[in-house]
Symmetry: C2
Subunit: 322 residues, 2 copies
């Protein structure tokens, strides 16, 4: 079983509208709701790949009850820890032209006893897990080193811990030596300082390797950087690899959740003992298949075989090679 | 007891944000929720005025459960009819500059058996009521003459029925001879045809009287038109009156719910047997007090005495005087 931990999970609400006009009354044409948050997306992808999984994190209030109902309806194992606060909603307002405006509720404030209940639960669950994925942001109320405590609570089991976090949570988590961290390019640059490249600029792989090496030096076992349409780069003990789709492979759609699909593939590949080049190629293929799917947590299964065929991986020769 | 009927009630959600930027991710700073819909607002004002009241309409799903919890917390008597569909939310996104964008969920589709359960419930409740207020829009799934059926189901008790509806629901409801209809100016012009005056244009009282007479001719016992800062006009059997605040009375704030407060005052005045001039003056004063309150369904009780003193009423001499 692969355990996914989503401390700040959400009910993802999608409103379809003709046009979102500020300061007007806007009719919502349809409403869709489902359990969300990065770890929940990872669990959905793992489930679709046939892997056993379980979901934990905090859940509370009427919105939390809706999350639990959706997890049950989706057949996902619910190991959530109940809290007094109300689970947050994210409301994605999608207009007729495809523009998306996202309203992010602040979410609950977690109390110290609730926080310790999650740590205790993680200790018990991690012993039964083959790998643990820690995903996404943290709710309010947690200690400054919460990210490191989460990694430690899971890593005590001896199982690999993948940390997909950003900002302070990423930096703090490194101290607890997660097996893998998976920043995207913007998150990598934020964690290592200096100006971030423009989102549409081609990735500077040598610079990415240097920055990944800095994260390894601060405690990460392996660093996998998701680079959008430039694929993914892994810097691990023993080498560095870059995987991407061959030129001309058409992939357009919804990039939200593509990183989560890649994390699911990484976790599953680690559990299966696959080598890094194969693992990275699969992560790139399934991330692209996720872009083709309209919902985060889903991927286009029909396109996956084609995308696997289009994924190329090459070893990088780097001065930081361990 | 004054019964308020809100067929399409809602959970009113307020999101405070710094700025609502389309196609961005917007952090919501605070979330507030409460039971809403025009009839619920009327009931809140009646309760604050010390009048016994009860709330009915359709309610369903997790959002409906949140509505019921809030009604209970507010001390309002819940006579709602449970349905399979999900009660709608209205999400008001309020920015730091005070701009308000409202997202209106479509709400449930009511089935014929559910519709008949509401009509049956109304028949039983109306016999115990001193007056009945029918407020707001109708959910999907109801017959075209639903508004008239609602008026009939309540009017069978012999108690006065006040209909606060717009568009087709107002026009259809006239056939069932409600005691009072309460359009605002835009709704009056929509129901009687021809171009609507600009929202900030001063009310043409003679034209308003003519149009109100047309609604009386189609079945309304009395027509009360809310005119925003130009006050209210009543055309009844026996005369026409116009009430407004004396010039220079400062009233600024949130006009949402001002009309509902006026309807509450009308219903209470009718039950108490007050004469139309007094009744209209009270409705104008409490509508202004509602503008001074930030939430629909509330009014500034401290300002009400002053506003009562500033409300003036005069009889209109009209060719359509009955």
């Amino acid at each position: 079983m692969i355990l996914t931990v989503t401390p700040n999970l959400a009910l993802d609400v999608t409103y379809r509208v003709a046009e979102l006009v500020p300061e007007a009354s806007v009719r919502v044409e349809s409403v869709a709701e489902r359990a969300g948050g990065k770890g929940v997306n990872v669990a959905r992808v793992l489930q679709a790949l046939g892997a056993a999984t379980a979901v934990t994190g905090f859940v509370g209030g009427a919105t939390g009850a809706a999350v639990r109902r959706d997890l049950a309806a989706s057949g996902l194992v619910d190991e959530l820890v109940a809290i007094d606060g109300e689970t947050r909603r994210t409301v994605a307002v999608v207009d007729a032209a495809g523009g998306v405006t996202i309203l992010l509720e602040p979410g609950p404030v977690v109390t110290p006893p609730e926080w310790h209940r999650l740590l205790d639960r993680l200790g018990a669950l991690a012993d039964r897990a083959d790998a643990i994925v820690l995903s996404g942001s943290l709710p309010r109320g947690l200690p400054a080193d919460a990210s490191a405590e989460l990694v430690r609570a899971c890593a005590a089991s001896g199982r690999p811990v993948l940390l997909d976090a950003s900002g302070d949570a990423l930096v703090a988590g490194l101290a607890a030596r997660p097996a893998v961290v998976k920043p995207n390019r913007a998150e990598l640059y934020e964690a290592t300082g200096g100006p971030a490249p423009a989102p549409d600029a081609e990735a500077d792989l040598a610079d990415v390797v240097d920055r990944a090496a800095a994260l390894r030096a601060r405690g990460a076992g392996a660093v996998v950087v998701s680079l959008g349409r430039d694929g993914m780069l892994a810097l691990v003990e023993g080498g560095a690899w870059h995987a991407s789709l061959e030129a001309g492979t058409a992939v357009s759609g919804n990039p939200t959740g593509a990183g989560d699909a890649g994390v699911a593939a990484l976790a599953l590949g680690l559990v299966r003992g696959e080598a890094w080049p194969a693992l990275l190629r699969e992560a790139v293929a399934i991330s692209a298949a996720a872009v083709l799917h309209p919902l985060a947590g889903g991927f286009d299964a029909a396109a996956l075989a084609r995308l696997r065929g289009a994924a190329r991986v090459r070893e990088l020769v780097t001065p930081t090679r361990a």
